[in-house]
């Protein structure tokens, strides 16, 4: 236990150390973030003007599909797992993750899975082109041959997620330092515990639905084929039973992150800790009974429309509790606006905008108008970009000094924030307008009347993309040549991770600390 890291590449290939594995997850997810970003920029470049300019429609479809898949499964989820790997053991005073070898296995599946998924771009017939939601029969009867590789890539990345989730649960339930009772755990730990349960519950369902596709495509079964007595709508039900909890998998850890950052820079304890825990659990529970709000226009019985509409609106209650608590934490606080705090405040405001447009979409009759338009695109990018991406960025700025022992440049960090903030709003806010005006999503061409807002969106997208290159530069230059960080880093941050030196030693808490 008293040894340091091994030398060379072997350190990364064979490691069992949660910090090494956390770093690999984070770098991998950043690489995927850039790759998925390039796909997005191809989309925005094509949509800069009406008419077909740069790519042919089939390739455009491949770009929308791969952008979604890479961002969801390659960028956001692994980034949160990376943060969990780094922070959960340190936050609860554990020496490492509960099952360190399985931890490394969970990570190393991902580069293989995404190599296989990305390689479909070069296959005959092209990459998957049926959207990241891969609705049957587009993904079965009419799919390119590469769909088989897509299915198996989903299978193994699902296995990776399940093992990661099991590891996190075992770590949190079994490895807390003496005195670290459940209701003393930092909220990031709480939100990840609940997220891990969501993962174990729904990743197998995703595996089930892609297995059904595989059987329909290659073995002549009739799951999604009405001619044999099945139903394509069945696909949507099973997919969204996975898909809705999945979107909370991508946001609950974000709640944990901002719940750590806002108190630090407000110099006040978090307002309403217990209600935060209960709200998180409520959101997780509700996520299992709202899935068909993605399918209001598919032709459901009225009772179904009503049930899913009201259940969806209920989610606004625990989410409102959270937003209230973050605001109340800042109220009369002694606020300063370091980069992590800027990203966190932007998170609270912009995520709330995304929440409100979600409430609009939850109204079934109104959704008949919004469905499959850019309004939906605007909605889920407002919850995912300022939600998931901003919180991950905030977390990196907040904890990078602890990881690397070096401080980033505040000027550079703030520049990154404002570029990203402006770029994001310029990209996605106009989509509300084009969507309400009726512009359909996933189409490479559009009517002249949408031209202005699309041009503005595309300019914003390239600005946002550029901001992320700056982010990469900031992270590397901090690690290489940032000035030394103190052990506490911030003025008076709460949590066990700030009691260890910066950079955090290779092994922390080999003997558990005593938590009062």
């Amino acid at each position: 236990m008293a040894h340091g890291p091994a030398k060379g590449i072997a350190r990364w290939l064979y490691t069992t150390n949660h910090k090494d594995i956390g770093s690999m997850y984070l770098w991998f997810s950043f690489a995927m973030f850039l790759l998925g970003g390039v796909f997005a920029l191809v989309i925005r470049a094509e949509l800069f003007q009406p008419g077909l300019q740069i790519v042919d429609p089939n390739f455009f479809n491949q770009m929308t599909t791969m952008h979604g898949l890479v961002m969801v499964f390659g960028a956001v989820m692994p980034a949160f797992v990376g943060l969990a790997n780094w922070m959960v053991p340190m936050m609860i005073g554990a020496p490492d993750m509960a099952l360190p070898r399985m931890n490394n296995w969970s990570f190393w599946i991902l580069p293989f899975a995404f190599a296989m998924l990305t390689s479909t771009l070069f296959m005959e017939g092209g990459a998957p082109n049926f959207g990241w939601t891969f609705y049957a029969p587009l993904s079965t009867t009419y799919a390119p041959p590469s769909v088989t590789f897509f299915i198996f890539a989903i299978h193994i990345m699902g296995a990776s997620s399940i093992m990661g989730a099991i590891n996190i649960i075992a770590t949190i339930l079994n490895m807390r330092a003496p005195g670290m009772t459940l209701m003393k755990m930092p909220l990031f730990v709480w939100t990840w515990l609940i997220t891990a349960y969501l993962l174990i519950a729904v990743m197998p369902v995703l595996a089930g639905v892609v297995t059904m596709m595989l059987m329909d495509i290659h073995f002549g079964t009739s799951f999604f084929n009405a001619a044999g007595g099945g139903d394509p709508v069945l696909f949507q039900h099973i997919f969204w039973f996975f898909g809705h909890p999945e979107v909370y998998i991508m946001i609950l850890p974000a709640f944990g992150i901002v719940s750590a950052i806002i108190p630090t820079f407000s110099r006040k304890p978090l307002f309403g800790y217990a209600s935060m825990v209960y709200a998180t659990a409520s959101i997780a529970f509700l996520s299992f009974i709202v899935w068909a709000h993605h399918m209001f226009t598919v032709g459901m019985p009225l009772a179904g429309e009503l049930f899913f509409m009201y259940a969806t609106m209920l989610i606004a209650v625990p989410t409102g509790v959270k937003v209230f608590n973050w605001t109340a934490t800042m109220f009369k606080g002694s606020l300063t606006f370091e980069t992590p705090m800027l990203f966190s405040i932007a998170f609270v405001i912009l995520f709330t905008i995304g929440g409100f447009s979600g409430l609009m979409l939850a109204i079934a009759p109104a959704d008949f108008q919004y469905h499959d338009t850019y309004f939906v695109v605007a909605h889920f990018h407002y919850v995912l970009v300022p939600g998931a991406i901003f919180s991950i960025t905030a977390a990196v700025y907040y904890w990078l000094p602890k990881w690397s022992g070096r401080m980033y440049s505040e000027v550079m960090g703030k520049t990154h924030f404002w570029l990203a903030f402006i770029g994001l709003n310029v990209t996605f806010f106009p989509m509300h307008f084009s969507g309400l005006a009726g512009m359909p999503r996933r189409i490479p061409d559009y009517h002249m009347m949408f031209a202005d807002w699309n041009m503005i969106s595309s300019i914003g997208a390239f600005l946002f993309g550029g901001a992320q290159v700056l982010f990469l530069y900031i992270v590397i230059s901090t690690i290489v040549s940032g000035r030394k960080a103190t052990d506490k880093v911030w003025e008076n941050p709460e949590g066990l991770e700030w009691t260890v030196p910066s950079p955090a030693p290779y092994h922390t808490f080999s003997t558990p600390p005593e938590v009062k």
């Binding site: 190393w108 519950a201 059987m215 044999g228 007595g229």
Partner: protein, 306 residues
């Protein structure tokens, strides 16, 4: 057992995970090529499977070795318990997807296709002449084309034949076998806790045999369905749900039997497991109880109400 709560065993660097990832990747990469008709597919699949099996062998050996040399403290063992428990829960959710598909097809999709719901015109315009029934013998496609079902009557399917014919009905005996095997594996567990090695070996051996008999019976039933009844994976949603649910269950029985067989060999050949230290066996027995519970669900919804 010198390790105490204060020092959790964190293993050294290990080559197992990266090789496990590589083996898993090769396996699915080969399978995908195979399914897409590439002649190199089966070879890649096989190579991947071998790599993966080799890694698992070494991985389990390593874990067993660590336990025997006293590196695994009580806290690490609790991690294994949590790990196995939640792994089984993930399996439950995998089956839930297939059970859910069956319920949806029977309560929603088929009545709509059959025109039983007034507001749906699907039947009238797309599938005239199709009537929803279960087990579904004539698919919508067959109804439109005027094709006869290969299976002639409701007496010629695999569903519940009525109480009179219960004892000549194969699924009934499979249920008896599997339920008994859950009891025998429990006896084995009780035996090892009382340090009765011979009883443990016998009960565990009986359990493995029951598992194998179940699988043979299942194979006979499949053969009967394919050759005598013409019920196949391709014969519409009834065949689809029947074979996928029982097939995945069968695959899990196979894995469970294999796990118990390994435990039996470990006990018989190597004298592994102690009254207070037998989680390897206990985990396998949990898995066995889980496949048993799934079977009870299958028996009720696929066979009795099938």
């Amino acid at each position: 057992m010198s390790t105490h709560e204060g020092s959790y065993y964190v293993p050294e660097q290990s080559k197992l995970p990266i090789w496990a990832s590589f083996g898993l990747f090769l396996t699915v990469f080969g399978a995908a090529h195979w399914l897409n008709g590439n002649s190199k597919g089966p070879m890649i699949f096989l190579a991947g499977g071998l790599v993966f099996a080799f890694v698992l062998w070494n991985w389990f050996s390593a874990v067993i070795g660590e336990n025997m040399s006293g590196l695994a403290g009580p806290q690490l063992k609790r991690s294994y318990v949590w790990g196995m428990g939640w792994f089984i829960f993930s399996e439950v959710m995998f089956f839930a997807a297939f059970f859910g598909a069956l319920f949806y097809v029977r309560t929603m999709a088929l009545p709509w296709l059959g025109g039983e719901v007034e507001s749906t015109a699907t039947n009238e315009f797309l599938w005239p002449g199709f009537t929803a029934e279960w087990p579904l013998m004539v698919t919508p496609d067959m109804a439109v084309n005027g094709d006869r079902a290969t299976v002639l009557g409701p007496d010629q399917n695999l569903s519940y034949p009525g109480f009179g014919a219960m004892f000549s009905w194969l699924p009934f005996w499979n249920t008896v076998i599997l339920l008994s095997s859950s009891v025998t594996v429990h006896f084995a567990h009780a035996a090892i806790k009382n340090n009765q090695r011979r009883a443990f070996n016998s009960w565990l051996g009986v359990t493995v045999l029951l598992g194998i008999i179940f699988l043979i019976m299942q194979a006979l039933e499949y053969h009967h369905a394919y050759t005598d009844l013409g019920l196949t994976l391709q014969s519409g949603i009834y065949g689809t749900t029947f074979f996928m649910l029982t097939g995945f269950h069968g695959a899990h029985v196979t894995l469970g039997t294999f796990m118990l067989l390994v435990m039996w060999l470990r006990s018989v050949l190597k004298g592994h497991f102690k009254p207070d230290d037998n989680f390897g066996f206990e985990a396998a027995s949990w898995y066995w109880h889980f496949v048993d519970v799934v079977w009870v669900g299958l028996f009720i919804v696929v066979y009795i109400f099938g």
